[in-house]
C-alpha cells in the first residue's frame, strides 16, 4: 500500500514554516521514510508567503518534488489562505490558525469541500500559555499528529539536535518545546 502524504505548510516569513518542514523531513528520513522537501522561493528576499512542500511515504520513492493536490494543508496567515487555495481537494485535511482575519475566513474552503476543516489556536496558545517562539513547534506537533508517520521520539531527537546548546543552557526550554509539541498534537486529535 502506498501511504504517501503530500503536505503543504504556508505562512508568513518568520513564522518558521521552513524550519518546521526541515525538522519534520529530517526526522522522517532518519526514521527510514522516503522523503522529499522543497521550499518555495522567489526573487524576493523577504515579504512573500513562505510555502513548504513535503512528501513522506513508507515505501514508494517520491516522484515530482511539487504536487497539485495536498493531503494536508496548514495555512497560518491571511495571505497563506489565498496562496494554498489551488491545492485544496476533497481529500484534504485543512488546518488553519484561529488568528486569521474575518476577511481570510471567507476564503477558507467550506466544510463539505474538504475531508476535514480544523481550526487550531496555535498562535493564541503560544502567546498566552507558552512563548511566541514555540509557535512553530506547536505547528510541528499538529502536523505530526495528522500524519502519524513519524514517532514523536524521532522529532524530539531532532529538536534535541537542533537546540542542543540552548537546551543545555536553559533546560526549561526543553520542557517548553516538548509541551508545545504535545499541545500541537492534541489540537488535531
Amino acid at each position: 500500500m502506498n501511504d504517501l502524504k503530500r503536505i503543504m505548510l504556508a505562512g508568513e516569513g518568520g513564522q518558521g514554516v521552513q524550519s518546521v518542514a526541515m525538522i519534520l523531513s529530517e526526522a522522517s528520513y532518519k526514521a527510514g521514510k522516503q522523503v522529499m522537501y522543497i521550499p518555495n522561493f522567489g526573487v524576493e528576499q523577504r515579504g512573500g508567503v513562505s510555502v513548504a512542500f513535503m512528501q513522506i511515504s513508507s515505501k514508494d520513492p517520491i516522484g515530482s518534488p511539487k504536487f497539485d493536490d495536498a493531503d494536508i494543508i496548514v495555512a497560518l496567515s491571511d495571505r497563506a489562505v489565498s496562496r494554498v487555495k489551488m491545492f485544496v481537494n476533497p481529500g484534504t485535511i485543512y488546518v488553519y490558525d484561529s488568528a486569521i482575519s474575518d476577511e481570510a475566513r471567507k476564503e477558507l474552503p467550506a466544510k463539505d469541500e474538504v475531508a476535514e476543516l480544523v481550526e487550531i489556536s496555535a498562535h493564541e496558545i503560544a502567546n498566552t500559555e507558552l512563548h511566541v517562539r514555540v509557535f512553530n513547534v506547536i505547528i510541528m506537533g499538529a502536523v505530526l499528529g495528522l500524519t502519524d508517520m513519524v514517532p514523536e521520539e524521532d522529532i524530539k531527537a531532532a529538536l534535541e539536535k537542533k537546540f542542543a546548546k540552548k537546551f543545555e543552557a536553559d533546560p526549561s526550554l526543553r520542557d517548553m518545546n516538548y509541551t508545545a509539541l504535545r499541545k500541537g498534537m492534541e489540537l488535531v486529535k
Binding site: E26, M36, Y37, P39, V43, I62, G63, S64, P65, F67
Partner: protein, 362 residues
Amino acid sequence: MATKPIEKDTNVFVTGNEVVAWAALAADAQIMYGYPITPQNEIMHYWTRLAPKYERRFLQTEDELSAGFTTCGGVMTGTRAFTATAGPGTILMQEPITMAEMMRIPLVVVVQQRGGPSTATVIYSQQEVNLCCYGGNGEGFRVVYSTAGHQDLYDYTIKAFNTAWKYQIPTIVLGDGYQAKMREAVTMYDPASRGIEMEPTKAFVGAEGCPGVDREPRFYRNTYNTEEELLDVVGDLKAHYDSFKDEVVEYEDSDIDDAEIIVVGHGVVSRACKEAVKALRQAGYKVGYFRPITLRPFPQKQLAAAAEGKKAILAVESALGQMKRLITDGLYGMTVPIEEYFKPGKGVSSQELVEKVKSMLD
C-alpha cells in the same frame, strides 16, 4: 595530503546543490570557477566551505563569460576544473563552451535551469535544453546529461568529468532549480569503491622542450583563415563526435513492449512520467515510459525502436517543445503522432499526466 572527502558510503538528506559540490570533490576536481546566480549559488557556497579542507581552490570571477574562460584556462593547465551556472548565465557561458568545442577542452559545466526568457523566475524550468545542446555558434559538439534527482546529480557530476576528459569534449550536467533546492536522500560514495577510475588529466600547455625542435608544436586554435580550412576542422570535430556518441548515449525505459502510448520526459519531469506510468499500469492502461538521459547525443535509435508501431508518443516537459524538437528530429520519417504536454517554467505532476494519458486512451 588531505584525506579523501568521501571514504565510505554515506547516506545523507541534503539539497542538490550540496550534492554537486560533494560529487565534484569526490571526483577529485581541484578548482571551481564561478559567478553567483540563483538557483546554483549554493554549489559555490558549499564548494567554498569544503574546498579548503581538502586543499581545493575557488575563484570568483566577474561574470559567467569569465567563469567559463577561466575554467577553460584551468583545464588547459591539466587541472580537473568546473563551473556552474543557470538562466542568463547559461547564455553567457555559450562563448566559452563553443571555444571548448572548437579546441576540444574538457570543460565541465553544471547548469541548474531557472525560468526564462530573460530573468523570468529563479525557481525552475526546462528551458535551457536548446542552450545546453545547441546554444553556441556551432554544431553542438557537447555531451549533456539531464539528471532527475540527487543520486543522478552525484553520479553524473562524477561521470561528467570522465566523459569530458576521456573524449575531450565539453560536458554539461543539466539539473534545475527543483533539484538544486529540494532535499531528498542520496548515497555519496568514493568513485573508486564503485570501480570508477577518474580519467587522468593532461596539460595542454607548458610541455617541456622547444616546440619544433625538441617536440612537435601543439596548436590550439579557435581562429582560422580560410573557409576550406574551417570546413576540414568542423568535419574532424564531427567525425570525433560521431566516433564516441554511441558509447556515451544513455536512456531509461520501462513497460514498452505492449504499450499503446509512450510517455517521454527528461530530467526531474521524468519522475512524474515514471510515477504516472506506474499508476496507469496498475489501472490497466497500456502505457510505456522513456527517458533520454543524454539529451546530446540524443538516444535516437532507442526511442525510434520504442516508438515503432505505437499509437502515440506523449512529450512532457517544462518548456514549449525544446525536448520535443529533439524527438521530432530523431524520429523523422516515422508516422507515430507526437502529442504535447508543455508547461514552460512550471513543474509537472504525475496526477495531471495520469489524467492526460487517460484522455488520450479512453
